[in-house]
Symmetry: C2
Subunit: 219 residues, 2 copies
DNA sequence: ATCTGCGCGACTGTCAACAGTTGGTCTGTC
DNA sequence: GACAGACCAACTGTTGACAGTCGCGCAGAT
């Protein structure tokens, strides 16, 4: 029986707060909870089957992530994005990811990094057959990996706190427009630029990618 | 009695959660709560005279800001920064603020922006006589203003979520080292670069400023 | 002396209830 | 019919209490 006990399959005992957080994040970024919707604590806690206190903790986190906004008298509602805000979000995203690309260029041995990024691109390629959502996940995973590989935890954390906003932007613009940005070749260009080790070039490639992406979404 | 009722003096009715948030943030960034200190909910709620539920909401927010970190079994403790993390924080900060500088360069009419930034520098100059903390506040205010003037709310929000980490970095390095970065002239250089409207130059000025600042803190 | 249970104290996860405020509605009066 | 004022329902802010779990120390067996 040693094999079973060593598997540790049931290691992740997530708290109710984390489950609620994930559920709400998903509901908002998929549009199940429409922008502008007023989030009533009592209703939500009932539908999620958790207490208000636990729910409130999760909502604070979502508020900090920018997915929900506070109105007068503490009323929380699903944030609504307009075209300018999407452009602003992608400008910040471009700044963060170009830093990531530049930091990766500074690494002496980039072989492992390049391999990991190629793996992420391959996953994007595979996802093309699986539908829209998997493609979006694969795309976000590529960019998240870009940040993670730098080893700069602050950078990764900042990017992740933007991730919800990015997902909302995609949802707002519509999935059809969003998939235009999932082109494999353009992502391969990013990896190639990093491989050369030219910081300025890599950063500029990212900025161009993001500028085009924002244009695709709102233009 | 119209005068009194119109004064709106008591407009800011801050919730206990916000007060707790401010108090904790201050205690951590001033070192009153040393890095690594385990934050026991029952103790803190008693010393702050609030209930645990309210305290927990504030702690979630601090956790997202990166001021406190979660250990095993949900234990929260004051985050500890090492030299690498400070460099990482300042690299992200540089990326955000150079975006701010670049966006400000794109404005057709920069007169108002330049004036506001000169005002912030003048405040730094005044603060030189007032001691260490006011100088730090004036410095942070300058950089926050830089982000705010872009009108990019996401950028401002990202910067502010980094602000706590910046304050921790300053505390960690010691106030004597930190004030080396408060030089008025070097900040004036930033404003001058923005005034020329040269995006690349302005961004590079910021990056150099931040690189030097990080070096001053940990070098 | 070392190891194995066993309690016990300490803390976090979670919940249900109370209090205060705001906005709407309904009624009575002019 | 319009307006003023008083109820009333709906929410959020805040609290105290209960439950589960982890780590530690102590006693007893080998």
């Amino acid at each position: 029986m040693a094999a079973e006990t060593l598997s540790l399959a049931g290691l992740e005992k997530t708290s109710l707060r984390q489950q609620a957080l994930a559920a709400l994040r998903r509901a908002i970024t998929t549009g199940e909870l429409a922008p502008g919707t007023h989030l009533v604590e009592t209703e939500l806690s009932e539908s999620l089957q958790i207490s208000r206190g636990t729910l409130r903790e999760a909502m604070r986190q979502l508020q900090q992530e920018g997915l929900i906004a506070a109105g007068p008298r503490g009323r929380l509602s699903v944030r609504h994005l307009d075209a300018k805000e999407i452009r602003d979000i992608f400008a910040v995203r471009a700044a963060l990811e170009s830093l990531a690309a530049a930091q990766l260029c500074e690494l002496a041995d980039r072989a492992g990094v390049i391999a990991a990024l190629h793996g992420a691109i391959a996953a994007m390629d595979d996802a093309e057959r699986d539908g829209l959502e998997p493609r979006i996940e694969a795309d976000l995973n590529f960019h998240r990996t870009l940040c993670r590989l730098t080893g700069n935890e602050t950078l990764l954390h900042s990017w992740q706190s933007l991730e919800g906003n990015i997902r909302m932007s995609i949802m707002f613009a519509g999935l059809e427009r969003a998939v235009r940005n999932m082109d494999v070749k353009r992502h391969a260009d990013i990896v190639d630029a990093i491989e050369t080790g030219d910081k300025a070039k890599a950063a500029e490639t990212i900025r161009a990618h993001m500028s085009g992406a924002a244009q695709n979404l709102v233009g």
